[in-house]
């Protein structure tokens, strides 16, 4: 049938279509930037390519005059280690609580409502409390990321655990499995790839919390730099940083997806 839903673009067209919106935005940016720069050559809002290139060189490839370190590298290491630890902690907590909440009725009765309510609290609104408890240092930033995404991961995984066909659990019991054995042999292997899905979905929120934490009190990090530069409208630094964060986030997502494909090959069998 020659209907729109049946028409497939070939490889070349598909690639072209994929690039089209990106190119459109870049061209529109160039036009607007040109218009502003022709009025004021020092305009900071939409800097030209050469200004952006100079900023990238200064931030990424030249040591900082005052500290002697490479700022982009230093900021990236700070941010990624905070993000990594925060996400790892949230994943661990989410994995344990999610599985127990999904599988064990007493555990669910105790914690289900609590995590449900917890996940509705906007962590940024209770920041002063987090500060008092965890200080203003690295710990508070990691905690904000972990607290921000853990409830989501717990709830997601609890729902996935409940979706395990009850027949499997019955079958294991008829074969004599204890609760502990059921968790280890039936639930955990099936839930690990789902956990990765949950983490992938919460990475966007994790970046958001990280950048918010760095904006509030910090001396390095990608979010710190963006908010510092914003103080004098240095869009020539901010725009490359935003692009760099996007690239890092995209790469992390891709890495998790590839890891899931390789580590849990069985999931992709059959379909």
């Amino acid at each position: 049938m020659r209907r729109l839903i049946n028409r497939q673009p070939d490889v070349v067209v598909r690639f072209g279509l994929m690039l089209l919106p990106f190119v459109a935005v870049i061209i529109a940016y160039m036009i607007a930037s040109e218009a502003r720069l022709s009025v004021n050559p020092n305009d900071k809002l939409l800097p030209g390519w050469s200004t952006i290139a100079a900023a990238i060189e200064r931030m990424a490839f030249l040591p900082d005059q005052r500290t002697g370190s490479y700022l982009l590298l230093q900021d990236t290491i700070s941010s990624l280690s905070r993000l990594g630890i925060g996400v790892a902690v949230a994943t661990l907590i989410g994995g344990i609580f999610g599985i127990l909440q999904g599988l064990i009725p007493y555990f669910r009765a105790t914690f289900n409502a609590f995590t449900g309510v917890l996940s509705m609290i906007p962590p940024l609104a209770v920041l002063p409390i987090l500060f008092i408890i965890f200080g203003l240092g690295e710990l508070a930033k990691v905690v904000l990321v972990a607290v921000g995404i853990a409830p989501f991961i717990i709830r997601d995984l609890a729902l996935r655990t409940e979706e395990i066909p009850h027949e499997e659990i019955i079958k294991a019991q008829t074969l004599g499995a204890s609760t502990w054995q059921i968790i280890l042999r039936i639930v955990v292997p099936q839930m690990l790839p789902r956990l990765i899905d949950g983490v992938r979905l919460s990475l966007g929120a994790a970046w958001l919390f990280l950048i918010a934490a760095e904006a509030i009190a910090s001396d390095s990090g990608l979010g710190y730099r963006i908010f510092l530069m914003r103080r004098y409208l240095a869009m020539d630094v901010i725009l490359p940083y935003v692009a760099w964060i996007t690239l890092l986030a995209f790469t992390l997502d891709l890495a998790l997806r590839l890891f899931q494909r390789i580590a849990f090959r069985w999931m992709y069998r059959g379909n």
Partner: protein, 360 residues
């Protein structure tokens, strides 16, 4: 199929045009004679009169007199207001002289300090926890809003006692979180401004070891306008000046009306009359145009050079800057501090003089 292909092409064209339009909205405002003006302001003791003037018809009265429309817009985020001004969306903004130089002027926007509302006379404070001498700050982590006036105060204070920023570690901290930050054990030194500073100093073990009374006149809280807009629209500059000095006369009156105005300003800034009076005590307000003219036509060269040096040392004059004098600053008497061929910040007393002579 042709018809379908056409329509999808149209769709893309429409999307492209929409994106282009969205960016075109960012094109700079063209300076010419116009009727509608927008000025940004944010909560600060010396700027509260602007909010009062807006709410109590003083703005409208002067705008009507010159047959223009003036809208004063309150920004919850001080820097965002300056950024909007720099981008061309606003005709004027309340900013310190330092931020005016670092953001609009360094961004190539020729700006004029139409009038100075006040200068900080104790509003910016360095606070140490459990120590009472500035020298004790050595080696500590100092929480402050980096690259702000607080940072400037720290740099000037350290300079005064022969230290430099290398002797401390600066931790950038949001002004909204200063009070909460002070309550945490790992925060031991801090630079902030009122009303946060007053709140923190009430806590046990908090010592004021340095404040802006030792830097008189260096931190000027000003009304900054686009120079071209001002030249093309003297009515705008006259109306703004009129609004300010009428509100100032009301405030300085010492009668019931003055008290009512101060109560309203105090409440709008989240405190009461006593709290607002305490902040005013740490602020040198220019109540009369004569005060402002006297200050501005006095010797501002040295004060200005302190500021340009700080900005240059922190790379805030732009990458092209090769010396603290890279951007020229024209003082009220026409002398230029810095590069005369690159004047991007100007002081003027022209309109204040009209106010003083009753010619507005």
């Amino acid at each position: 199929m042709t018809s379908f292909r056409l329509s999808s092409l149209r769709l893309f064209a429409a999307a492209f045009v929409a994106t282009a339009l969205a960016f075109t909205a960012l094109s700079p405002a063209n300076a010419e004679a116009k009727k509608d003006f927008k000025v940004g302001w944010s909560i600060y003791v010396g700027w509260m009169p602007w909010g009062y003037a807006m709410d109590h018809g003083i703005v409208k009265k002067w705008a009507d007199k010159y047959d223009i429309n003036i809208e004063l817009v309150q920004f919850n985020d001080y820097i965002e207001g300056i950024n909007q001004f720099t981008a061309g969306a606003y005709d004027g903004v309340m900013a310190t002289n330092m931020d005016a130089l670092a953001i609009p002027s360094a961004g190539g926007v020729d700006s004029t300090i139409l009038l100075i509302c006040d200068y900080s006379d104790g509003n910016d404070v360095i606070i140490l926890k459990g120590k009472d001498k500035l020298e004790d700050i050595k080696g500590q982590k100092v929480n402050l809003v980096e690259l702000s006036v607080s940072h400037y105060v720290l740099a000037r204070a350290l300079e005064n006692i022969g230290m430099s920023e290398r002797d401390v570690t600066v931790v950038n901290t949001s002004d909204a979180d200063m009070i909460a930050a002070y309550a945490t054990p790992d925060v031991t030194a801090m630079v902030t401004w009122n009303p946060m500073a007053a709140e923190i100093l009430q806590q046990e073990g908090a010592y004021n070891v340095f404040d802006s009374t030792k830097l008189p006149g260096e931190i000027q809280d000003s009304l900054v306008v686009n120079t071209q807009t001002m030249k093309d629209n003297p009515a705008f500059a006259k109306a703004m000046t009129g609004i300010w000095y009428e509100t100032m006369a009301l405030m300085a009156g010492g009668d019931a009306a003055a008290e009512a105005a101060k109560i309203a300003m105090g409440e709008a800034s989240g405190t009461d009359l006593a709290g607002y009076e305490a902040q005013l005590a740490a602020t040198e307000m220019f109540y009369k145009p004569e005060d402002y003219i006297k200050f501005t036509e006095g010797n501002l060269v040295e004060l200005t050079q302190f500021v340009t040096k700080f900005l240059f040392d922190h790379g805030l004059l732009g990458d092209a800057a090769t010396s603290p004098g890279y951007i020229g600053i024209e003082l009220a008497d026409g002398t230029v501090v810095g590069d005369e061929s690159n004047v991007l910040l100007r002081y003027t007393t022209e309109y204040a003089k009209m106010a003083a002579e009753g010619k507005l």
